[in-house]
């Protein structure tokens, strides 16, 4: 089987309300330059491009079409797009390398969450006949999940606050983070509820951003990167959309993807957990022990650019390897209400 490694990553600063348009071009051009310069590649060297974004987030049809302007796609390029987080674009690009049709592939994701009212926009992901007309928003659905976990004894509000404390503290050393601070759990717990039992610190902030990852096959990876992050498992699964039919205290799709990808034996994991209790849930579902460093970047609680955040988790996990901080790393992405869809990418260093 073709061996593939992550060889480059760049991410825009995450901003509460960026100046750019919903096309993503203003966020993408600088990070394309950055990642191409770091790998010494020109755009013509990219054999396959794949992007992830959402028309609903942009509030217009075909929003990704204009993002192509960030590439300068002439001569024409081999390209595709998923209406998903960029992590799934990376998956499609990885598959393309496995077919032998490309040696080097680039995936990017972008989202301008500030363009609309995010929690109401995401309500439109629900069953359009039976659930969406009731407008249960994404924060309220996550609150239901958090409440069920508390009642099942899986976590407490204090456990959740401690996740936020660690996230904010870790983000102090992340120049692209949106939220970073030295805070105490007891102080956070004094704050009012946003959606009982979730407080503001339990919810990822709304932010605009973009991310890009470059992968290469074995023949090219070593010349492009000193310490490539070799992909040893890349899997994704989806669960039922029927909230009432799911046990919301678990995420079988995350567990299944994690098992298939070999999630158990990693040094570090970047988890896409937009709510504090979801980090606890995912640690369990992925079988990550207490010795695994989780979200050294601060995770998406420190900045959650929709449709780029999952891809950025994989890029950040790969960076743990390229900088020598980890031998095996895991990047995770999620999509849909209450962790409905999950993706796991496990990477390792090789001498």
């Amino acid at each position: 089987m073709t061996e593939v490694a992550v060889v480059g990553f760049a991410q825009s600063p995450i901003e509460r309300r960026g100046d750019g348009t919903t096309s993503g071009v203003e966020m993408l051009v600088p990070i394309f330059h950055q990642v191409l310069a770091a790998t010494g590649l020109a755009k013509q060297d990219i054999g396959f491009w794949c992007s992830g974004s959402s028309d609903y987030l942009a509030g217009r049809a075909f929003s990704f079409v204009q993002a192509v302007d960030a590439i300068g796609a002439f001569p024409p390029i081999a390209e595709s797009h998923v209406e998903m987080d960029g992590a799934w674009a990376l998956y499609e690009a990885w598959v393309k390398i496995l077919t032998g049709e490309a040696d080097i592939a680039l995936a990017y994701g972008f989202g301008k969450s500030s363009a609309g009212e995010l929690r109401r926009v995401l309500a439109l992901q629900l069953d359009p006949y039976l659930l969406a007309p009731l407008w249960p928003d994404s924060v309220s659905i996550a609150a239901l999940q958090a409440r069920l976990g508390i009642e099942a004894g899986l976590w407490t509000e204090k456990d959740m606050a401690q996740v936020a404390v660690r996230s904010r503290a870790a983000a102090l050393s992340n120049p692209q983070a949106q939220l970073y601070a030295d805070v105490r759990a007891d102080d956070l717990l004094d704050e009012p509820y946003l959606a009982d039992p979730l407080r503001a610190h339990d919810c990822a902030p709304i932010g605009d951003g973009a991310a890009v990852v470059i992968m290469a096959s074995a023949e090219r990876a070593n010349e492009l990167c000193e310490r490539p992050a070799w992909i040893t498992g890349f899997e994704h699964r989806i669960d039922s959309a029927q909230l009432g039919a799911r046990d919301l205290t678990t995420a079988p799709s995350a567990a299944g993807a994690g098992r298939a990808a070999g999630a158990g034996r990693v040094d570090v994991a970047e988890l896409h957990a937009p709510f504090t209790h979801q980090e606890i849930l995912l640690r369990g579902a992925l079988g990550l022990g207490d010795d695994v460093r989780v979200n050294p970047s601060g995770g998406v609680l420190a900045g959650n650019p929709m449709f780029a955040a999952g891809l950025a988790r994989i890029g950040l996990a790969a960076r743990e390897i390229s900088t020598g901080r980890a031998g095996r790393a895991l990047g995770h992405a999620t999509s849909g209400p209450a962790l409905q869809q999950n993706l796991v990418c496990v990477m390792e260093a090789r001498s």
Binding site: W49, V65, L98, P128, A132, Q341
Partner: protein
């Protein structure tokens, strides 16, 4: 050929109509999926992964509807990908599903594409005013009409060519039980006397707005041989290709876009085809407005620049001609936008499987499926054949 061999094991589509108010979005998709499974003699449990394609989510007012469709498509517990590459998305859906098999990831993959246009109004969903770019104004027809006028001026094509395409495709559609528009009695005169919508495109030269879905099951060599052993033909995927260029830039050729030409060149090279007009037996080409038949014949390399209309005028694109184009009736007869590309790919497969019924092209062994989207900037194509190589 890229990676491991892959083949179409089964094909299904809905009856395409203006309004399929008898089914939900899930029901519409499931109608196509169940037919594809029956066609291949398989069950949902035989499917390892699902790829969903559709055009903009605003067409139905559901954000990422594949999330809600996971149960109906039997995708729970499995990998599910959602592709969106504008109007070419149906083709891209087929190609991505094929790549999952070619990469050795899965044994059998279900590709589903749909549009339920009656849930909203596609023309006005497209007529938006994005910042810093030219608005499309009155939907796709208003956008493409100037390109057609440029083609006519450039090629010197007689003005009735578009109407000839419409007559052919609508009559072909009358041979296809699933087609939305079935007009066996249409004539050149009736097309040419229909109302002018976007000069030179008349009402009868325009695709309809349809509710519809298409499903294709793609399998690896072992799965294909198992299907064949059960007495069912398969369509081997000889090559796939996709290309993209920006919507607008200095030097953009809207009549003969380079992305389409490059895509076709890559496709023919991968399929080992040196003379498409001689080696392709039937082509399902994305023709939403009649004049795009001669335009794409040139872009694809079936005819030289400015010569495509001659094939149309000589009747060579009719069933029985040198290169039958859109024997199913094509997009001019059924246009569930997100599914239209996969329908082209599926109809090409049906032809080489010998299962196209009344619109079967005799002896079809090698066929093209083609789709395009955006401002003539996204292209996806495949070549399927009766034998693996």
């Amino acid at each position: 050929m890229s990676g491991q061999p892959a083949a179409v094991l089964g094909v299904g589509q809905t009856s395409h109509r203006t309004r399929r108010s008898d089914v939900s979005i899930a029901g519409l998709c499931r109608e196509a999926v169940d037919r594809a499974l029956a066609d291949a003699g398989l069950a949902l449990t035989d499917v390892d992964a699902v790829v969903v394609g559709k055009a903009p989510d605003l067409f139905e007012g559901v954000m990422m509807p594949e999330l809600y469709l996971a149960d109906a498509l039997g995708a729970t517990g499995k990998p599910l990908l959602r592709v969106h590459t504008a109007g070419s998305v149906g083709g891209a859906t087929g190609n991505v599903a094929a790549s999952l098999v070619q990469a050795g990831r899965h044994r059998r993959v279900l590709a589903v594409a749909f549009e339920k246009q009656s849930e909203s109004n596609a023309m006005w969903a497209l007529s938006i005013m994005p910042p810093f770019s030219m608005p499309v104004l009155a939907g796709a027809g208003g956008y493409f009409a100037p390109h057609i006028r440029a083609y006519i001026r450039r090629s010197g094509a007689p003005e009735h060519i578009g109407a000839l395409v419409a007559v052919k495709d609508r009559r072909n559609g009358s041979l296809n039980p699933y087609a939305h528009l079935r007009q066996p009695d249409i004539t050149l005169e009736s097309v040419r006397s229909s109302p002018m919508l976007w000069d030179p495109v008349r009402y009868d030269e325009t695709c309809p707005s349809s509710d519809g879905a298409c499903a294709v099951i793609i399998g690896d060599r072992a799965a294909a041989e198992a299907t064949q052993a059960s007495g069912r033909p398969v369509a081997w995927i000889r090559a796939t290709a996709m290309r993209t260029e920006p919507t607008m830039f200095a030097g953009k050729d809207h009549v003969n876009p380079r992305a389409g030409a490059d895509c076709a060149a890559a496709l023919w090279r991968r399929a080992g085809i040196t003379s498409p007009i001689d080696e392709i037996d039937v082509a399902e080409i994305y023709v939403p407005f009649s004049w795009f038949e001669p335009m794409w014949l040139e872009n694809l390399g079936f005819a030289g620049p400015g010569e495509g209309w001659r094939l149309t005028e000589a009747g060579e694109t009719q069933i029985g001609g040198r290169l039958p184009v859109n024997p199913s009736g094509g997009v001019l007869c059924s246009n569930p936008i997100g599914a239209s590309g996969l329908l082209r790919f599926a109809e090409a497969a049906l032809q080489v499987m010998g299962k196209a019924g009344d619109h079967q092209v005799e002896g079809a062994r090698t066929a093209l499926g083609h789709a395009y989207g955006g401002g003539s900037q996204y292209f996806s194509m495949w070549v399927v054949a009766a034998t693996p190589d």
